[in-house]
Structure formats: C-alpha cells, structure tokens
C-alpha cells in the first residue's frame, strides 16, 4: 500500500466531497477497510444520491472557503436510483460552465463516478485532485465574497 | 473666490452637481456641471448575447428606456444584416411615438410650464404643477396624468412591459397587434393630437401672449450659438426612429449628413477629469473648448436642434407649428435655449400625428412579425432620436452573437458641453456684483439646464412639492461663509 500522505508543513487544501451513499461513500469505506492511504484533504458530506446535490451547495462551499469540491456518484447505468447520476451530471455540466464564467478554475470542481468497489479509484482521485489544488494554491473566493458583504 | 455648490442638482434623472465659482467681486468666473456617476454598461454587456442586449440597456435609463431598447434593437438587426418586416417596423415606430408623447407631455407640464405659466420669479410654492393647475384649471393636472397614463398603456401593450420594454428581437418584434387593439390605439392617438394642440394653445396664451416671457426667451441670458444635430428622413423632415444624422452649423447651413453607422467619422468624445460623463464634439471641426460660435466643435442634440437641423415636420399640424415658431423667433436656426420648450411641443404634436398615421394602417395587424435570419452576426450600429438627443448604440459580436465590444453615445451626453456652457452663461448673466443671489435668480440659473430636459428629468417632474436649494458661499479653504437656502 503506497503512502501518499503529505507532510504537515505542506499546505493541505480543503476539499468538500459530496458522496452518494451507495457507491462513492461505500467506496470510501472500502478504501478505509483496505487501509489505502490518501491525502487528508477531503471532508465528506454524505447524500443518498448525487442527484440530490444542489448547485447552491457547491457555490456555498466555495464561498465559505473550500479549495475544491468533489462530487462522487455511481457509474452511469449503476445509479441505485437508476438515473440520479445523470441528473447530477447535467447540473454539473451547466454549473461547470457557470463556474468558469465566474473566473473559478474548473479544476476546483470535479465529478467522478466511483463505484462501491473502487476504493482504489477513490484514493487516486483524491490524491490527484489534492495535487492539482496544491498547484493552484489556496482559493481566494472566500475573501472576495467577504469583502462584498457586511 | 466664492464657490457655490448645488448638490445634488435636483429634478434630473441621474446624479448631477453644479459648482459655481465667483471672483471676489461676486462675478461668476466659471461653472462646472459634474456628473458623478458611471455604471459601465459598455463594459459589462461584453459576453452577453446580442439578442439580450436591447433588454439590458433599457436599464441605462428608466425614464427613456424605449429609446435604448430601439437603438440596441436596431443595432442587433444590423449585426445580423437583417431588416425588420414592414409590420415590425410600424409597430416599433408606433410604440416609439407613444414613448415621445408620454415623455414630452410630462416634461412640458411638470418642468417647462411652472417657469412660464406661473412665472420664473413667482413664489416657489406656486412654481410647480399645482401652480400650473391653479392658473389653467384643476382638470388639467388630472388630464396630464391621464394622457401620460394612456401613453404608458400603449407602451405596455406594444412593448410588453410599461417601463423596461421587451418587444424587439433581431429582425422584428415578439408580439403583434390585433384589430381591436389597433382601433383602440388609434382612438387614443387621436386623443394625443387633440391634447397636443391644446397644450400648444396654453403655450400661446400663457407664454407667447406675455411680452416679458418672449423677451426672456429671445434676449435673456439663455442663448447659445452652437451647431445643431438631428435625425432626418429622406426629405430632411424630422424623424425619431430612423434616418440620417444631419448637422447644421450656427448659421443653419448643412455641415454634415451621414448614415448613423458612420458616426465615428463625425463625432469624437473627450474626457474631463472632473466629470464621469464624456464630452462629445464634432470631430471634423475639433474640440475648441467650451466656446460658442461658428468655429466651435460643440453641438446640441435637443428638440430645438432637431428642428434646426431639419427642413420641417412630416405631419401637417406639426409643420404649421414648425413654421409659426421660426417666424415668431426670426427664422432658422434658433439659438434660444428656452425655445426648446416650444420645439418640444411641436414634436409632441408630430409624435401624436405620426401615431395616428401608423395606427390607421390596417397592415399593422399582420402576423408577419419577424424576418428570417441567415447571416452570421458581426457588427451593428443603431441610432434613434431620444427625447434628449441623438442616441447611438454600437456592438461588435463573435460568430455566436456574443458581444465582444460595445460603444454608446447617449442622448444627454451630446449636450454635456452645451449644458455646462448654458449654465455658465446664465449664471454670468444673473449672478453679478450687487445682485443678491436669491431663489428667483437661482431658479433662473436652473432654467438653463432644465430646458435641455436632461434625461435627468422627464416624467417625474409632475410631483408637487417644495423645491428648495442650498448654495454654499465658501472661502478659498472651502469653509462655508454664508449659505443661501430656498425653502
């Protein structure tokens, strides 16, 4: 099991991760059970289905200081609720366009299909995204938002 | 040196500030009219789809949104190289005529009339629409509001929204007119003509019948010899919706006549560090400073300049009044700033008559509302006459029709320099050694810019109420020494 923990002195981004209960959340449990080490950057919020994820959750996450947002759902065709992940995908695609218009690098928001069995993929995705965010550096969105409101 | 500050300049649409500098003798050294406001539409429409822009720019001015909607709508047509269908064009111009009626009515009664009907130096308490009513009869006030309302209703019917119009799409309009609606509009338009004639009668009886007023108009400190700009049709008659831009010099000679799309060859804008509003001038003449005369680059774009720049009106009654005005004021061109009120009434009648003409055409109810669009969007210029001057919108788009650049020359902007000059002239004429600066004097200063009906005013003047103003007499350090307060 390769250890991809980064040392404390290295800045660790904060990724809000919305995981669907049936696939990606289970995958993160599997990663745990299999003791797969990955970067301690994610903060998981469990929803029943990626289709529940409201664009405003993602915006709020950025506004409140998340360096990245990761959405995890079941693979196409595998949704526990048959099609929730497609609905998530459609919203995500539109949101992505909006996010870019708002000058937020699209790398800060990521959607991945991770099945209950793909603990390994979860590990890779988190590490990859953490690296990307580290290159991008801390998000300034929170500061910008705060300067504009009492 | 004393510094008089009028802040904010009131009864104007948007924000304005007048600084009057007097030397120690009390003579006016200079007057600055400052516009402290900027919103940056030219920049933030970038990236917006061209078809949306005509609805975004209405928010440049909620008092003449129709003008911006039309200018942008026409620009959008040109961006696609498409002509609106005949029906669409008629509907647009019908709407636009109503827009003029509503604005000119309000301006004349609420702003113009108080100064004349009641009198420039009359007690301020009476110098408002209520005073006008007292003078000419109670039902008039109600009638004014009623006619304005009817004009608004027609705009709402045709425009889809009584204020921020949504009617235009590239190549046409969104909504047609039913036969019943046409009849209804026609009847209302006829009402406008009557009301226009009636208003002109008031002007004759109250203003022209009064030698002093005529004297103020002709000989007061209110004349400004500058060039005149206006949109004219093929016969050089005044047209609000479409045509060529014509500029005549201070002597009435044609200086330019150009297609609106070529505006950049004829108009240039300069920036002064003390105002957010730019100062357009005639490019070929060049900027000679805030000066009058044949050599000046300054021009005005107002009801008066439109009449000056034209060979007449396209409708019968308006034409009569046009001729009468010039005969009374000694021929074209007229440089008397206050004559703008008169010119405005001539235009009111024209707009009303034009509305009648258009509403009388049965074809206006045809369902043929939109021309087909084939061309790839590129670039377009749209120009109309706003109540307050020639209005130009210019857009560049990418191949998807998303705006990449925008340039706007807004009606009142044309008159930025003239307003400054008129104010200075009025102030110099009125505020002198030995003259106590009282309310009447100051009101007469304000009359100078009020005549322009700077898009700062329009409709909203019809409110009664006190109209005080505070002037600070400051020393060089800017400490207030004395304060004159109208209340």
């Amino acid at each position: 099991m390769q250890s991809t923990e980064q040392k404390t002195e290295q800045w660790s981004p904060r990724i809000v991760a919305f995981f669907c209960n049936w696939c990606t959340y289970t995958a993160s449990d599997l990663a745990g059970v299999s003791r797969m080490r990955y970067a301690p950057s994610t903060r998981v919020i469990r929803v029943m289905c990626s289709g529940r994820i409201d664009p405003e959750f993602i915006m709020e996450a950025f506004a409140k200081g998340a360096d990245g947002v990761l959405i995890g759902g079941c693979h196409p065709g595998d949704c526990h609720y048959s099609e929730g992940n497609y609905k998530c995908l459609r919203r995500y695609k539109l949101l992505q366009k909006y996010i870019e218009q708002m000058g937020i690098p699209k790398e800060r928001m990521r959607l991945e299909w991770i099945s209950a069995a793909e603990g390994k993929k979860l590990q890779e995705v988190v590490n990859e995204m953490t690296e990307t965010l580290r290159i991008l550096g801390p998000s300034k969105i929170k500061n910008v938002v705060e300067t504009l409101a009492k | 040196m004393k510094q008089y500050t009028i802040d904010p300049v009131t009864r104007l649409e948007g924000h304005g500030k007048i600084e009057i500098f007097c030397n120690d003798d009390g003579d006016v050294e200079n007057v600055y009219f400052q516009v402290p406001e900027l919103r940056g539409f030219e920049k933030f429409v970038e990236g917006r789809p061209i078809e949306e822009v005509s609805q975004i720019v209405t928010k440049i001015c909620g008092v003449c949104p129709g003008c911006h909607h039309m200018a942008a709508g026409k620009a959008a047509d040109m961006v696609f190289g498409v002509e609106p269908t005949p029906t669409a064009r008629m509907i647009r111009e019908l709407f636009y005529s109503a827009h003029f009626v509503h604005s000119h009515i309000a301006h004349f009664y609420a702003l113009g009339a108080p100064d004349f009907v009641v009198g420039p130096t009359a007690p301020k308490a009476e110098r408002n629409v209520l005073g006008v009513i007292a003078k000419v009869g109670a039902e008039i006030g109600t009638e004014v509001l009623k006619q304005r309302r009817i004009a608004q209703e027609i705009q709402a019917l045709l425009g889809g929204h009584q204020t921020h119009v949504v009617m235009n799409v590239p190549g046409g309009v969104r909504k047609g007119l039913t036969e019943e609606q046409r009849k209804d509009v026609l009847a209302k338009a006829k009402g406008f003509v009557e009301f226009g004639k009636f208003s002109m009668k008031i002007f004759n009886d109250v203003v022209l019948a009064n030698k002093d007023y005529v004297d103020i108009i002709v000989n007061g400190p209110y004349s400004l010899k500058i060039h005149s700009m206006g949109l004219v049709d093929a016969n050089n008659k005044v047209n609000f919706y479409d045509g060529k831009v014509r500029v005549v010099d201070t002597l009435g000679k044609e200086l330019h006549k150009y297609a609106p799309a070529d505006y950049r060859e004829y108009i240039a804008e300069r920036v002064e560090p003390w105002s957010y509003l730019k100062f357009p001038y005639l490019k070929k003449v060049g900027w000679k400073g805030f000066v009058e005369g044949q050599d000046s680059g300054v021009y005005q774009a107002t009801p008066l300049s439109r009449l000056n720049a034209s060979d007449g009106m396209a409708t019968p009654i308006a034409q009569e009044e046009y001729e009468r005005m010039y005969s009374v004021l000694g021929g074209k061109p007229v440089h008397a700033t206050l004559a703008m009120h008169w010119a405005r009434l001539v235009e009111l009648i024209y707009a009303a008559e034009r509305a009648v003409e258009l509403a009388s055409i049965p074809e206006i109810t045809s369902p043929d509302l939109r021309a087909k669009i084939e061309k790839v969007p590129t670039e377009g210029v749209g120009t109309v006459e706003a109540q307050r001057g020639t209005l130009t919108h210019h857009y560049w788009t990418d191949e998807r029709g998303l705006i990449t650049k925008a340039n706007l020359i807004v009606g009142t902007t044309n008159n930025n320099a003239p307003i400054c000059m008129s104010l200075k002239k009025a102030a110099q004429g009125l505020i002198k050694k030995g003259v106590t600066v009282d309310d009447g004097i100051l009101n007469m200063v304000e009359m100078a810019f009020r005549a322009y009906d700077p898009c700062f005013s329009c409709a909203t003047h019809s409110l009664p109420g006190q109209m005080p103003m505070v002037i600070n007499f400051r020393d060089m350090e800017g400490n207030i020494q004395r304060q004159v307060k109208r209340d």
Binding site: S3, E5, Q6, K7, T8, S12, R14, V16, N21, W22, C23, Y25, T26, S28, D29, A31, G32, V33, R35, M36, R37, Y38, P40, T42, R43, V44, I45, R46, V47, M48, C49, G51, R52, I53, D54, P55, E56, F57, E60, A61, K64, G65, A66, G77, D78, H80, Y81, S82, E83, G84, K87, R91, S115, A116, A117, E118, Q123 | -
Partner: protein, 663 residues
Amino acid sequence: MTNQKEEIRIGFYICHCGHNIGSIVDCPAVAEYASKLPHVVVSKDYKYMCSDPGQELIQKDIREQGLNRIVVASCSPLLHEPTFRGATAKAGLNEFYFQMVNIRENVSWVHEDKDLSLIKAKDLVRAAIHRVAYHKALEKKKVPVNPDVLIVGGGIAGISASLTMANAGKKVYLVEKDATIGGYMAKFDKTFPTLDCAACILTPKMSSVLKHPNITLWTWSEVSEVSGFVGNYKVKVTKKPRYIKEELCVGCLACVEQCTFKEGKFPDEFNFGLSKRKPVYMPFPQATPQVVVVDDKTCLHFKTGKCPQTCMKACDRNAFDFNQKPEVVEINVGTVILTTGFKPFEAKRATNYGYGKYPNVFTSLEVERLVNASGPTEGHVLLRDGKTHPKSIGIIHCVGSRDDKTNKWCSKVCCMYSLKLAHLLKEHSGAEIYNFYIDMRTPGKGYEEFYDKLLNEGVQFIRGRVSEVNDWATTPDEKGKLIIRAEDTLIGRVRRIPVDMVVLSVGLEPAEDAQDVRKMFNISCSNEGFFLERHPKLAPVSTFTDGIFIAGACQGPKDIPDSVAQAGAAAAEALALIDSGHVELEPNTACIIEDRCCGCQVCINMCPYKAITFDPDKKKSSVNEALCKGCGTCVASCGSNAIFQNLFEDEEIMSELNGLLIE
C-alpha cells in the same frame, strides 16, 4: 429553522475503537474541542462506543443531562448508525436526533499524519454538531413483507436455497434460464475431496425441487423486469417457448427418436460440444424437469417450414405446440435470492496454450464429461479423434486465473478440481499425469489430505507457470506430441514435457449476464464483475438493496460446499426478514409543500419511481410517500424550494457544510 422553542442540548461522543481510531486521532483533544462548540452539553471520549457500556453512556446522559441531540464520532454510519440510533431511541429520544461522524474509514484508517487527521476530525465533528441541531423527529415507515421468495438460477446454490425456503413453508419461485436445473454440478462426475458421485447427491435434490409443493419451478425462463422495493417486489418472468406443453410431456423421448434428423447433428451444450444432439432433445438423462425442448435455431420446421414434423406425430400425448410464444408471468415476492452462478474462462483467450489450435488441448470441463460414465465417451478418456487413448496427460493450472493478461484473481476451485481430475484421469486411462501449478492451494476440510493422496499416486507435479503449448518436435520421441514448456521453479530450469493430451484448468468468471442481472435488481458488482456483498465480513450474502440476497459463485469463485453454505445463509437472511413480518423504511422521503408549488412539473420526470403526480385541478404536484425511495433528485430540481427531503433538508446539508468550513 431549528425548533427554537426547545433549547438544543447536544451530547457528543468520540470512540477510540481501541487503537483503530485512537492511535491516529487524538480523541480526548477532539472531545475537548467539541465541548466548546455551540449547544454541546456533554462531550466525552470512550474506548468502544459501540459496546454496551458505550451505549449505556449515551443513554445515561440523555436521561440525566436532558440531551436532545446526539453525535457520535466513530466508524462508518453504514456499519453502526443503526446501533447508535437504537441507543438513542432506548433512552426515549427520537432516533433521528442522532448524527454520526465517520472518523475511522474516513480518517484514521486512511491517513498517517496525526496533525492533519486531528484537523480533519475536528472539521467533521463540527459539521455534524451544526447539522444535528436542525434534525427533526421522524418516524420510520413500516411496510409488510410478502412471504414469497424469488430465487434466480437453478444451480446447486439455487437448489439448496429453494429447498431451505420451501421447507420453511415459504412459497418459492425458482427461475432457471436453461431447460433443466442442476447447473455445472450436474456435469461433474465426482466431487472433491470425497470423490462421491455428483449425480448421486445432486439428482435427488433436483427431483425434490420439482416435487416440492411450495416450489414453482420455471425452467427455460428468465426474469425480464423487476420493480418495487424490499418486502414488495413486482417481478416479470418471461418463459421462452420450448414448443412443448410441459404439463403433457413425460420425457419418453419418442419424438427425439422420430426426428427427421436420424443422427444428432448439432453440438450438445451439456457435453460442451463433445457430442451431437438433434433439434429436439433432452439436455441430459436426469434433466429436471423431464421435458424435451425444441431448439428453433436448428429445427427444420422453423428454418425451412418444410419438415414432415415426425416428432410431433410420434408424440402420443400431443405435447407439441410449434406456435408457442414467449409468455410473461408477473409475480409478487418480498425477497429475492440471486444464485446465477459463473462462467468458465474461455480457454481460447490463453492463446499460448493452443486451445482450438491443437485438437488435443481440452478444458477441464470437457474432461469432466470425458471421465463421466454418462458422458459422450461413457467414461473412456479418448483424444478428439474419439479412439486414441492418451499415454501422457498434462494438466495446466491457473488458466485464466492469477494472470495479469486475463484475470488477476485466484479462482479458488481449480487446484482442487485439477487434483481430482488428475486422480480420475489416472484411474480411467492409466496415463502419465503431469500437474503444472504455480502454488498448490488446498485450504478446506480434507483438501490438503487429498493432495497428499495424489502425491502418493505417482502423479507428477511441476511447480511453474507453463509458458506455452506447441507441437514443434525437436526430438523423434516428441513427434506427434504436444510439448508443454514450463519453468520448473523447484529445480530452476525450463523443461519440455511432451504429452498426448493437455488439460487446461480454466478459472471462474462472472456469468455472461451478470451486468444485466445486476442492473435489473439494482445491486452492485465488484471490479471483477461478481456481485458485491453489503459487507465482506458482516453481511456476505446481503446486498446494498434491501431484500436482495446473493449466494454461490455469482458472488465470487466458490466450490460446492461453500455455495451450499452461502445458499443456506441467504435463505436464513430472507427468512429472518419474512418472519419479522414487516420492514422499516428510512424516512428520508421527499415531500412537496403545496403552498410553494407552482405546478411547473419539472420534478415529475425527475422521479424514477413515478412517485410524483400532478393534480391538474389544484395545479399542484405531490409525492406518494409509499413509492418515494428518498434519492432527493426532485428536491434539487425545484426552483421554488417547494420540495424537501427528510434527513437531507437544505438547511441540514447547508448547516453541515457551514459547520465544516467555518473555523
């Protein structure tokens, strides 16, 4: 809006889970931190929260400290949420006033850096504490469980499960896609390690399935549609036309004899093509049910329409019906057991072993038939030519297993069945037997002993992966033989072994239709494609879809004893569910606030369960709670915020989010 009338009193508990959490996350520090968070009245750390004393702790505090919200930071909610909800409820507090924080699977087991782990744990705890304040009291919905059960797949696992359920008095529907039940076991001669005859132990079970009053057996049938939810599944089964009226056929085989084809002409599936059959046939002598089937792909009547139909005439019971069409029957069941089995590795894919290229390369399953007394050769081991007796035979293990090029996993049964075949081949042919193996894996009762037995039977064992099989003779005595090249890792050199016959011990793969079945029953698959159990240790026969259980090789490679054991386990799980009489559904359903609904109907086709309907008179939409499964997709689609989802209301998620991010 949290209910402001009552003061929020939160109890927070963090679990060391022995060293599992405690060794990475500084639990006392987190407890200390949490004690300062808003509304937190009690904050404690404890070695094992899930233990009885741990749960007692919570209940005691609820009673004595008047707690009305509980947060526990420990393992995954998928594991212990029910436990702690239970504890909460025991103390008289609504169980949904509980929120769980996963700091084991999501923190201590996946991170090493203690400082960063502590920060992360605090973030997660803070989020949960913010969230729980907004929790509302909810009631679980109870729905009755239909006692009938559907079992899919008539192999040994399906058969055992069916019998267990049926014997427990439940109505069982057993659906098998082939013409007979029995599965692969029916093809075997003997079974390891006891070497008792497969048929002798299987066929009685097959017939008792057929005879059992509680079992409805549908062979030559497939499940075509599944809807509903735990306790209340609606299933459509499509019975393929076999052109025989089942109830009339007695399996006398007169029709088979009278078929226009005088000889068998088409590869016989049961014997893997080692023999030929006619278009009308009985899969094998003990086929259950004893009903022939007409193969419309090969039958002249269907191909040309010009067939004397002698078969039909031969049938004195008029069992033939060439006009049979697929027939769909709909059944309602409360639970489902999937025993859909596996697919043998396709030997052709291991190209270096020459299967299909050299006739005398066989698969282990072909050999199972060869050595079978009722097989195509009546148990005589012959080469493809059908007459030559092999003098030497090489058995290659791990074909399509433990191999990066094909399948990585160990198929678990190959070592044992290879030993079994080695024994049987030697017994039947007296030939020299070579076993080529990577590792000999013989865990299981009597397995290692069986291996020893073989070692003493003079069977040769060569430890090493075979690189290739070819027929390039380099010496006269290699002529006409198959040469097996392999590294003998025990003596450390490459060897060439010429043999007459090569047996490929093929591994096990997920069944052809595993993905379709998975989708139909809405369960997951592991990476290799076998059905995924809910928990590898604690719920090995359950799936993530309540009421759907799995057993046998569809869950992973398994031998007969394991399959039977799992079948029993699955049956027990199903019985437990049925006998509890009802299931409790999570109350996380969606609800439409009528006053906010504008009737735009965007939400309606968000719902995969048609749970939302529009009332044209009221111009409002509403959710049918019974049909709603709580995905929350409709909630996100509503522009009016007129829909909320219990347990996942906007304010609950938003407060969790804010709690997560505020420092």
